[in-house]
């Protein structure tokens, strides 16, 4: 009997303990709305904002972002920030959408635009810039027109405020190119020669994982073959010929031995590290990998060259602004939180903040002085963006989820010749309806 009693006491203790610690945060939430009108004295009121962003884990801006939060709470002691940042991947995206679907809406979220944002906009989960500006006319005024253009959604409105742009390019370990006397892949012929030479030398020519992230190669092969005009389509009835031709290069390249032996099973983080550790010569990736490069002095980045009959302009790249800060409808409609949320986004998108974000990766979203102390690979990246004739957003910002994930899952089979690009694309069109 004694033992049972002990168990029950322990049980009671644990429950009260949890109850005690759970009070700490939600209590502030519930107290604030009914206390007073928002316009009167927001400065004295304690506000808790829940923020979610992809500036977590290995993101090159993670540390800067945390610093910005610290600066913000120092300047606004009445605002507490509960930040939930994590590395962005498909699971993270799903988590954010699950949050919104179950009513667990964050107050401010740094999230993708385009196809990913559509369901949030459809469900009236986020507030448009146009609506915010009615009350805060200066909101996001410092953001450049070009950057803001990328933020336009299907309904013509803008929702997210961008801070940093991204580009995608073919990153090359120049020391390996020198060591094996190989020319940089500035055109398709040199690209093929490089693959052959590295293959012979026992170096993996192109680091990529088909099972994890073949995304970049899908976009770039289609762009290299079909050019900007075909790449920017969102096909609903028929697919452009050039898409099939572009995807057929997966097989061409695989047959040349361009990819690692275990391309169909290896994980993407291992692949990225193979490039960092000089076990692979080239990797096609986004500007966010710059932060992890161990040897920025001997790394450079180029646009993927057009295919032999490709319509792509050699300078065209994929890039743009694909994410930004949103204020959720829930925070906006909460008089206690509205002002704090706007303040937070303004702090995060101020010119100072933007130059901090631009320092590590990509193009700044506002007219800020070029960040100093750039490494050669960062300079190459900025040049890439500056010289491009066209910059287009990746295909997956347009195709719907089901169509896109299906296409991704079929790349391994296309490269092995077990599925034809034509059949796969027909199915993609079916799913994209």
């Amino acid at each position: 009997m004694k033992r049972i009693l002990a168990v029950l006491i322990l049980l009671a203790m644990t429950i009260t303990m949890f109850a005690a610690c759970s009070k700490a945060t939600p209590a502030d939430d519930t107290k604030s709305p009914d206390s007073s009108a928002p316009s009167e004295s927001p400065a004295n009121e304690k506000v808790v904002l829940r923020t979610v962003s992809m500036f977590g884990g290995t993101d090159p801006s993670a540390a800067d972002y945390q610093q910005l939060i610290k600066d913000f709470t120092n300047a606004n002691p009445h605002i507490t920030i509960n930040d939930e940042s994590a590395t962005s991947d498909e699971t993270w995206k799903a988590r954010v959408t699950t949050d919104f679907s179950s009513g667990n809406d964050p107050d401010v979220v740094f999230f993708f635009t385009g196809a990913d944002a559509k369901q949030l906009i459809d469900a009236n989960k986020v507030v448009s810039l146009e609506e915010i500006r009615k009350e805060y006319p200066d909101y996001a005024k410092n953001i450049s027109e070009a950057a803001m253009g990328f933020m336009q959604e299907f309904d013509g409105k803008h929702y997210a405020v961008p801070v940093r742009g991204f580009y995608e390019g073919l990153f090359c370990n120049t020391d390996l190119f020198e060591k094996y006397n190989v020319e940089l892949p500035t055109d398709w012929e040199k690209f093929e020669t490089a693959i052959k030479k590295f293959k012979e030398a026992g170096i993996v020519p192109i680091a990529v994982s088909f099972s994890d992230v073949p995304h970049y190669w899908i976009e770039h092969l289609i762009l290299a073959e079909g050019g900007y005009e075909d790449h920017k389509l969102n096909p609903k009835d028929t697919y452009p010929e050039s898409w099939a031709k572009g995807l057929s290069y997966f097989k061409t390249l695989k047959d040349m031995g361009a990819f690692p032996v275990d391309v169909n099973a290896i994980k993407n983080d291992i692949i990225t590290n193979m490039f960092y550790d000089k076990q692979a010569a080239m990797i096609l990736d986004g500007s966010w990998i710059v932060g992890g490069i161990k040897d920025p002095q001997t790394t450079t980045v180029l646009p993927v060259p057009p295919t032999p009959n490709g319509k792509k302009d050699p300078t065209d790249i994929i890039g743009g602004f694909s994410a930004g800060f949103y204020i959720s409808r829930k925070a906006w409609d909460d008089p206690a939180k509205r002002d704090a949320a706007v303040k937070f986004v303004q702090h995060m998108t101020s010119n100072e903040a933007i130059s901090m974000f631009a320092k590590v990766a990509g193009a700044p979203a506002a007219d800020v002085p070029a960040p100093g102390g750039l490494t050669p690979v960062m300079e190459a990246g900025i040049k890439l963006g500056g010289q491009a004739k066209h910059i287009d957003m990746p295909i997956d910002s347009r195709l719907n989820k089901e169509a896109w994930t299906y296409l991704v899952s079929m790349i391994g089979s296309i490269a092995d010749g077990q599925a034809t690009p034509e059949n796969v694309l027909t199915e993609v069109i079916n799913k994209n309806k």
């Binding site: 799903a94 469900a123 989960k125 994890d212 275990d262 169909n264 099973a265 994980k267 994930t405 079929m410």
Partner: protein
């Protein structure tokens, strides 16, 4: 007469039923309802479009479902033959020795207590093409490294750790069944001249038949639910979706492709399949239970 008064039943049963009802049965029923809706994106969870049987019809035409089903059936076969089979052989052996039985009993159970995630990561270290344990052994012996997660080998290499992990579980159950056989039966058998393999075949096996049946049912239903280890070891059914099981494919459709309705339909399918299979196993292996 002690248990004539039914009132205490409420005190004993209701707490468990409330927890189970709210956090197991209700979500499951909700899941069945979702399977009749077209739900794109988890955000639309409340506002899906009623789709009737469309999700189930789509399943019939989905080549990945067929592949996953085939893999699950394969896994069931492996589970019965290797999991329960190896467990049975090991149990019979340990039952026949005196020294070290306790040791084997302890270490065979090790993998059961380790999380599938940890085992998945461990096998990632074994299978890695460059520098993995298996390829290090091969190169030491002078062979070429092998691509373990290839089209042909992939499904077997993904099944291997799943099978290996739970052998110890069934081993312990069968071994205890064997220990429960009264000694007199063996003594009579020896008097009748039954020894060695015959003793196992005519006495041990029939007497623990019930135990083996339970193990088979557990192994088969476990094979149907398999999810986390394959997902950690070969995400997205790598290579090329060839190692998808119904569980991993359901997760892929729900959380990656965000077709939550379709995912719900797959999980309903898994449960129905599980009911059919365990029912069949019980019918198929029905023998007169021997009471001792």
């Amino acid at each position: 007469m002690l248990y004539k008064d039914k009132r205490p039943l409420i005190f004993f049963l209701v707490p468990a039923l409330i927890v189970l009802g709210t956090f197991l049965y209700y979500p499951f029923v909700k899941n069945i309802i979702n399977s009749f809706y077209e739900i794109n994106g988890l955000a639309a969870l409340d506002g899906g479009k009623f789709a009737g049987l469309q999700n189930y019809k789509n399943m019939i035409n989905d080549p990945f479902i067929r592949l996953a089903l085939k893999n699950n059936l394969l896994m069931m076969g492996f589970s019965v033959v290797f999991q329960v089979g190896i467990a049975l052989i090991l149990a019979l052996m340990v039952d026949s020795i005196s020294r070290g039985a306790q040791f084997f009993r302890t270490v065979y159970f090790f993998p059961v207590v380790i999380s599938a995630t940890a085992i998945g990561l461990m096998f990632n270290l074994f299978y890695a093409y460059n520098g993995g344990l298996f390829n290090q052994i091969l190169t030491r012996l002078g062979f070429d490294p092998v691509l373990w997660l290839s089209d042909k080998l992939g499904i077997y290499m993904v099944s291997l750790p799943v099978i290996w992990q739970y052998v110890g579980f069934y081993f312990v159950i069968i071994l205890t069944g064997l220990n429960g056989i009264p000694e007199e039966i063996f003594e009579y058998a020896v008097l009748d001249g039954v020894t060695g393999i015959k003793k196992i075949w005519y006495i041990s096996l029939p007497l623990i038949w019930d135990v083996i049946k339970v193990c088979m049912t557990l192994a088969i239903t476990g094979a149907l639910k398999v999810f986390d280890l394959p997902w950690v070891l070969a995400p997205n059914g790598a290579p090329k979706g060839l190692t998808h099981f119904l569980g991993t494919y359901m997760y892929f459709k729900t959380f990656i492709s965000q077709s939550a309705g379709y995912g719900a339909a797959i999980s309903v399918f898994i449960v129905i399949l599980g009911l059919i299979v365990s029912f069949t196993v019980n019918k198929l292996f029905k023998r007169d239970t021997i009471v001792y």
